[in-house]
Symmetry: C2
Subunit: 583 residues, 2 copies
């Protein structure tokens, strides 16, 4: 029987509780969002004593299902002021599931600031201990090895960096990859700051003696696993030697640039003249040319059969960073006018080291450049600014607060955020549907909450005209948002979406895996209902926090500034946006 672990940071207790019936069929995002809705007052201060932060593996995590090692983190976001779920790969979620932990809820707040605890969880129990001085205030590339030395090299460590300790609203929560790197992030929405506000530096998961999660219906599970595995191995995007495995996610750089929708120099243009130099193709070429540790098709997460990660080498073949993926390469690359993978690699490495969301950090850098703090394209200065963040200087605190805070501080109007969260690497002006998702997601601007790029650009799950502003975009975004909430709850990586949207048996496989674990009899037709319930609950939280339809909007400047090369504004009517969640 899995348990919920409740950790109180006011009195430093950690107690196991039975899983209430209402949470039995939930996991991942569905579970963390339910906990946030049930236990967090929507109007509380995100960094105050009344917020709570919860961690949950997905429904099938720990079962041996393919590409299903996601860890969801939920809380009220200090970045958006609304509900937040951010999820990470790496190895910790699988381990948590294998020792029977359905969720960890961290509540309360220590009286004294700046003191940190570490929570160790094993098959036999949980224990809080003061963080050693050498684990705090340092970069994670230094801290992780020290924690492995103390707790064992095979532990999964869920940790904040110095920026989370300093309560910065762009700080994420790190999980190590199978080789121990601090490289996989529940990045978005400032979850790291919330963990920091609790005085919790890290959760160390030792699954010694643990085992695969129990199956209520082994037959259903096995059938589902086979179907999903087959679909993933068959689809061009996810198969071995397919797009993601060969080039990583940065394969999208050239595609989206070609579409005129690669946000460039703080969302002032849609095409970057240096795109080819930061593309997935160039990553692969460089890895091959430089050799050494260089590797594409790298596995970053437990049980993943897609393996989209990479290890990017320096010129001498030693490791610069793992990994250079699309969003990160774009945010520090095109959006900052920087056309060097060595520079983006260093900036990503610093994000991993300081504990930052690469999307928010890169977009913030673009806003900072617009504010005159650096010239577009000046990688040296961008690296200096990143160090300001790590050092926690006043300027670092501004940037560490994210793009919206930076724009507010310097009076920058061109601020590409929704609900104060930075937009990812797809310009909504030429691709209207992804803008519908950005505007109406419960999470703030977030491509992963309803990936309209699939039909609008990639031709996955049918084709839609990216330039169309019609009501069909509302319906499609809604369907994507609901399906995504289900996938995020199942524990699978969102990248299974390509295969399951195009291959019906893959979709069935995902549902059957869940049935196998839970003993339910869900069908593919239940996905929308279950995902929809999660999204509706999240929206109710946001409404309680004061959100209205005014918050479901694309920034004003995109409505009057034409984006080259297509010279289009964002012209999806408010009525379309409002229809997404009021069908």
């Amino acid at each position: 029987m899995s348990k919920i672990l409740r950790v109180n940071m006011s009195n430093l207790t950690a107690k196991f509780e039975d899983v209430p019936d209402k949470y039995k069929f939930l996991g991942g995002r569905g579970l963390t969002s339910a906990i946030t809705c049930d236990e967090v007052p929507p109007t509380c201060h995100p960094l105050g004593p009344n917020n709570k932060i919860s961690f949950a593996p997905g429904i099938v995590t720990g079962s041996g299902a393919p590409t299903a090692g996601r860890l969801s983190v939920g809380c009220k976001s200090p970045l958006t002021g609304g509900i937040k779920e951010a999820n990470a790969g790496g190895i910790a979620a699988d381990k948590l599931a294998r020792i029977g932990i359905k969720a960890i809820i961290v509540e309360g707040q220590p009286k004294e600031k700046g003191k940190f605890q570490v929570l160790k969880v094993t098959k036999d129990g949980a224990e809080l201990m003061p963080a050693a001085a050498e684990w705090v205030g340092k970069g994670l590339y230094e801290t992780y090895p020290k924690m492995f030395k103390k707790f064992g090299e095979k532990t999964g460590i869920i940790s904040i960096g110095v920026t989370g300790e300093m309560l910065m609203a762009m700080s994420g929560i790190c999980v190590n990859d199978p080789e121990g790197r601090p490289s996989r992030y529940a990045g978005r929405g400032g979850v790291g700051a919330v963990m920091g506000s609790k005085g919790l530096k890290a959760i160390v998961v030792d699954d010694t003696g643990g085992s695969s999660i129990p199956l209520a219906n082994k037959e259903a599970f096995d059938s589902g696993r086979k179907k999903l595995t087959a679909a993933l191995q068959q689809h061009d995007i996810t198969k071995p030697g397919g797009t993601l495995n060969t080039y990583g996610t940065a394969a999208l750089i050239n595609v989206i640039n070609e579409a005129g929708a690669l946000p460039t120099r703080n969302f002032s243009e849609g095409r970057f003249e240096g795109a080819a130099k930061i593309s997935g193709e160039m990553i692969k070429e460089t890895c091959e040319k430089r050799g050494g540790v260089g590797e594409t098709g790298h596995r970053g997460c437990t049980g993943c059969i897609i393996q989209c990660s990479n290890v990017y080498p320096k010129e001498d073949g030693t490791e610069l960073v793992s990994c250079q993926e699309y969003e990160s390469v774009w945010s520090f690359g095109a959006d900052c006018g920087i056309d060097s993978l060595d520079v983006t690699g260093e900036l990503i490495r610093l994000c991993n080291d300081y504990g930052l969301d690469t999307i928010e950090a890169g977009v913030t850098m673009g806003v900072a450049m617009e504010a005159g703090l650096a010239k577009f394209g000046d990688g040296k200065k961008a690296i200096e600014l990143m160090h300001e963040i790590g050092k926690g200087t006043p300027l670092g605190h501004i940037l560490g607060g994210g793009a919206a805070l930076t724009a507010d501080t310097f009076g920058v109007i061109r601020c590409p955020t929704v609900k104060r969260q930075s937009m990812p690497a797809y310009e909504p002006r030429p691709i209207k549907g992804i803008g519908v998702t950005y505007a109406t997601s419960t999470m703030g601007a977030d491509h992963t909450s309803g990936y309209m790029i699939a039909p609008e650009i990639l031709g996955v799950s049918g084709k839609m005209d990216p330039a169309s502003s019609g009501m069909e975009k509302a319906e499609a975004s809604r369907n994507f948002q609901y399906a995504t909430a289900f996938i995020d709850t199942s524990g699978h990586c969102l990248f299974i979406a390509f295969a399951i949207l195009d291959i019906p048996s893959g979709m069935e496989g995902m549902v059957e895996e869940c049935n196998g674990v839970l003993g339910t009899n869900w069908t593919v037709d239940d996905i929308g209902r279950i995902g929809g319930d999660i999204v509706k609950r999240e929206r109710a939280f946001n409404e309680g926090a004061g959100f209205t339809k005014v918050d479901d909007r694309i920034p004003e400047f995109m409505k009057y500034e034409k984006l080259p090369p297509h010279n289009v504004v964002y012209d999806v009517a408010d009525e379309v946006l409002d229809k997404v969640h009021n069908p």
Copy 2:
């Protein structure tokens, strides 16, 4: 016939328009709020091309009515994100009225940033001209004399300081006093940043050849003026030799401190051990002791018969600043733990010089001290931090963004703001009714939008128990908010409220003055209706900007942190707050 002057900063035109019928019976706040509601999209970026900023003298301004020289400034606020009206004394409003200007509306935005224009208005017309280099980027104590040299010593100058040029959200708009000092401010809500975003450095008003505004009913006006004058000269607070004339507004320091409601060290205590040293009594004593230019009972605004201002001298008798008034002395004094009038005087002088709202600046300083940027009580460091603002360093930009931005940047939870605007000098925990006003004002936390201190502490307009949290506070706050909107529309200083609330003929006098100017037949019974219409319109704008009842709340920390010495939390029920505007 008075006119509206419409200034377009995109194409640098200034054109006169007839006053539409709907604006005929409005002035001051009623007029600027109507213009904002009619012409500004509530969701626009406050510093973008779609915001507009308007300036309007009150209904009776320029008529010779007593203490009626207020200038209202209206726009969408970059501080609160809602509607804003801030009003100032000084001499400019009277001059505008005397040359027949009902309102100035400034719209559009220059393409090039950092270039500023000056608008000169006379009886004969209006003209935009590039601001001389020596008027920009300098302190206002340096700039005003240079502008007087160019435009004449008797002009009224409405100007932003460097912080408005730099678009800082705590920047106000300055008006000179009768002796030419840059000392009277439309301070709140970042109106200076909006003027700056328009590229407009100053409006110079030369009323040569102007005359008193026409009267539709001279008899009514004269009767009203006499009644109001008599009431002001009779009431203990406003009469010659009365409280305000003798000690200035800082007479309140000891009173509010005694009540345990003087916010101290960033709203962590309600009583300041150094209160006596920064009191109105001490200001008077120091002025007398040091001699020289020292003066209380100083007249800061055209036609004022209360004369609450002062000129505070340095030890050698030369001028430090005019003036040290309650809010400013408190914000830099008690709220920063500073017990020296020489230090508060210097900080206020810097606010005047840099173009800042003293309430927002002082409260921000308190939050900065809480964040560890200075120790409470460290006046030297506070002055250094103020210079950071003036210089526009990154730290200066944080502080210049106000208390809420500073708190967000450094993760400070104890942030005493409502709608992101700093609370003034009355703690809502022991004085519940002023908290009802703070929470529900259309303006953000603002004592002047419904001064519940009158009945709760001063015994003006009856007496209410400050500790009571009952529904009667909702009704009283509503009545105060409505009556205030009327006074702000009439053009009178809010300080007439003491006399007109206690002396019925004074209230009649104010209304008769308005009838005399407008030819209306309003009675005292119309005040609530007229003021209420203004407030309701402002609330509709805020609703359009995305405000909900969640925004009508006191900060969460005040609900769980007990304030010494009375050890009380803010316990007015949400239902009471919601009742204010939904009776």
